[in-house]
């Protein structure tokens, strides 16, 4: 039936996409491994004065504790909140288990993070009794193999599959058929749309757009007038249209590191050693993988949490750690003295390629050095 509807409009064959997302992943792993933490409002992450919540258990979420919240703010909302340090080896082990489960269903798996992935089961679905049956089987096997729960969303594109997995969280399964897609999108707040962040959501609210239905009511020219080149994307989302493919081998686009300091810094003398250390971390990650990049981006977070980023693209890939630091330092010096204290610095390498790809640039250099 779905197939027939789709064929009648002559579009591409209908896809079957599953989005799987572990429930409160880090926190759930901690509660699984440490029974005394079960039923307790729990935050994984730094509980110190400058820590950040990496994940919150459902008990903590009832108090309004969310991931990426400052530790101090989380404690204000939930004074009895228990903080534990993250154990990334444990999370990576679980991640490998669920990845194996996904890959036993289809090779078309696009991991988004340790605990979240898209699966394109268009080809696999007929042999397994349909996409919904696959999603049910995946959830059952995750529970069996890891002792943890996952939520899954099934639909005909990535945008809807992700909205669906979030819809019946935790431990839920939600299917959005093509017939229901547009109505579903119309009913939910735009702030939950992939690609609509807090700033865009606030702007849309000022323009009177709060739900998918509000967005649907706007014309493409009107959206272009307010959102420029992003307008066609929002226009499509409002119509539950999303053509993004599931990419099994997503290429790494950037590689970086950042750090929040114990106190706010203002001077070159305080900031440069920190930047030097961060450049070292980035290079340690890049070098063994043969990853090389031409663009260096410096991220600055000020004491009032405002962000500033500055980037420079070099004619040739960054040669070594010293050059990475030198470019970062040049970008940083241009921002000094800072308007406010600086609490975080980050360095990212992008425009990546491996040594072989970048070995022969289009404009070769004189053999000077």
């Amino acid at each position: 039936m779905e197939q027939a509807v789709n064929d009648s409009v002559g579009g591409p064959p209908l896809r079957k996409i599953i989005h799987v997302d572990m429930d409160a992943f880090y926190a759930s792993v901690e509660q699984r491994d440490r029974p005394e933490l079960r039923g307790v409002p729990l935050a994984v992450g730094g509980g110190g004065p400058r820590g950040v919540v990496a994940a919150a258990s459902y008990e903590a979420r009832k108090f309004g504790v969310r991931s990426a919240m400052a530790g101090a703010a989380a404690r204000r909302r939930c004074p009895e909140l228990v903080f534990v340090s993250p154990r990334f080896e444990a999370y990576r082990a679980v991640s490998a288990q669920i990845r194996a489960i996904f890959e036993s269903c289809t090779p078309h798996v696009e991991p988004l993070s340790l605990d979240e992935a898209y699966l394109d089961v268009t080809d696999a679905a007929p042999a397994h009794g349909g996409a919904t049956a696959i999603a049910k089987a995946i959830r059952a096997r995750i529970r069996e193999d890891t002792g943890l729960t996952a939520s899954a969303g099934v639909s005909y594109n990535k945008f809807l599959a992700k909205l669906a997995s979030d819809h019946h969280k935790p431990d839920g399964l939600c299917v959005i058929t093509p017939a229901k897609g547009p109505a579903f999108v119309a009913s939910i707040p735009v702030s939950r749309f992939h690609g609509v962040g807090p700033v865009t959501a606030a702007k849309m609210k000022r323009l009177g757009i709060e739900t998918g239905a509000d967005l649907l009511a706007r014309s493409l020219p009107w959206l272009e007038c307010h959102f420029g080149s992003s307008a066609p994307y929002y226009f499509d989302l409002a119509r539950a249209v999303c053509h993004r493919p599931v990419r099994a081998h997503r290429e790494r686009k950037s590689l970086g590191a950042e750090d929040t300091f114990g106190e706010d810094y203002r001077t070159e003398a305080d900031l440069l050693p920190q930047l030097h250390r961060i450049a070292g971390i980035v290079w340690e990650r890049a070098a063994p993988r043969g990853v090389r990049g031409r663009t260096v981006t410096l991220k600055i977070k000020y004491a009032d949490f405002t962000l500033n980023t500055r980037a420079r693209t070099l004619p040739a890939p960054v040669r070594d750690q010293d050059e990475l630091f030198a470019v970062g330092a040049a970008l940083l010096r241009a921002e000094l003295p800072p308007p406010r204290g600086i609490r975080l610095l980050g360095l990212t390498l992008s425009k990546l390629g491996d040594d072989a790809e970048l070995a022969e640039p289009i404009a070769p250099e004189l053999p000077l050095l």
Partner: protein
């Protein structure tokens, strides 16, 4: 302080010093020019802490004294004062008055004692260069100076002396070189008296640019004094002092080809115009122009996926084996702009090897250009 000066003389001096002053400054006094009235003249000074300029202009000084005012503002004011007017400058109570004709300005000042000055230290090497020679050195090399801050040691012109200019040129020389890693330019002139034993130095790009502007108005000799860390150019009424780039310039001689066996001779003007025409459609990013060499003929061509194609034949003397090579059109034009004679020699080896360009074996300047893959 109280002094009177002709508007034209003041404009010239303020024009020189304000161009050293950066538009954005974190230290407020660096936006200012120091003005000092003393013995029959005004002395003006500005600095960005790496480069400092001192100007003197004849003026009638009634009361000696000194103060500092914003350089760009003062320049704008003097530019707009009536031509031929006499400008009265006086300072008191933290303000400086500028009066000319019926116009009155009252400018905020900062104390002269806060004005930073570069400590020159000893400048043991001293020699004189004709202004025209210095102009030639700068014009024929500065376009190749790197703007890449991470390779700071390429951000200037490298000056060094040698006891001879290589095979067939036994007399001592002064060489100036600049490169950005894609092209290299070098000028060789006879070593001036007093330059023997001078340290190798890298003169920063900004100093080069300011010096070149001053040379437009100076005809006589320029007194050059330097140490391993500072350099001073004395042009008479203007003196420029700069810190030198603290770094090691790479051994650039290694990239100057000596065995390129394919020689192409062209008329630089028709070559330049041809490159310029076909490059019109080259993509902004690569600017690649292809040269197909055949017997006594070069075909210049550009293929752009976005724009289309262009081709032009240029006559030339060429008798070696035919082949194709690509260059960045802008780099090629930068070099051809500096060729003054009616012939340019292009010494080639293969499509991936550094290529040498010069007027002839006797010319003071030579250029090396790295080909592009096309």
């Amino acid at each position: 302080m109280q002094a009177t000066i002709e508007r034209a003389a003041l404009l010239k001096s303020v024009g020189h010093v304000q161009s050293v002053v950066e538009r954005r400054n974190t230290i407020p006094i660096l936006s200012n020019v120091l003005i000092e009235a003393r013995d029959g003249g005004l002395r003006l000074m500005a600095t960005d802490l790496d480069l400092q300029i001192n100007e003197t202009a004849a003026a009638e000084v009634a009361t000696p004294g000194a103060t500092t005012v914003p350089a760009h503002t003062l320049h704008d004011i003097v530019r707009k004062l009536p031509e031929g007017s006499q400008v009265e400058i006086s300072a008191s109570d933290g303000k400086m008055q500028v009066n000319a004709g019926r116009a009155r300005f009252n400018l905020q000042t900062l104390p002269r004692d806060d004005f930073p000055q570069i400590a020159e230290g000893e400048l043991p090497t001293r020699f004189a260069l004709p202004g025209a020679t210095l102009r030639q050195i700068i014009d024929k090399t500065r376009f190749a100076i790197s703007t890449e801050e991470t390779r700071y040691y390429l951000n200037g012109i490298f000056l060094h002396v040698a006891d001879d200019g290589g095979p067939g040129s036994p007399s001592p020389v002064l060489k100036a070189a600049a490169t950005d890693g894609h092209r290299l330019a070098r000028v060789t002139v006879p070593r001036p008296e007093g330059a023997e034993g001078m340290p190798d130095v890298i003169v920063p790009r900004k100093c080069v640019a300011e010096l070149r502007k001053l040379l437009d108005e100076a005809d006589g000799d320029v007194e050059v004094s330097l140490s391993a860390t500072k350099i001073r150019f004395d042009l008479g009424s203007a003196v420029l002092t700069s810190k030198l780039i603290d770094g090691t310039f790479p051994d650039y001689n290694r990239v100057i080809p000596t065995a390129n066996d394919k020689l192409l001779r062209l008329d630089p003007k028709s070559f330049m115009q041809g490159v310029d025409r076909v490059a019109t459609i080259a993509s902004e990013r690569t600017r690649a122009v292809k040269m197909a060499l055949e017997h006594d003929k070069v075909t210049l061509s550009v293929t752009s996926p976005e724009n289309g194609t262009a081709a032009e034949e240029v006559p030339g003397d060429y008798s070696a084996a035919g082949f194709e090579i690509g260059f960045n059109a802008r780099y090629l034009l930068d070099i051809l702009h500096q060729i003054e004679g009616d012939t340019v020699e292009v010494h080639l080896a293969d499509p991936a090897a550094p290529t040498l360009l010069r007027e002839s074996g006797k010319s003071a300047a030579l250029y090396v250009l790295m080909p592009m893959r096309v």
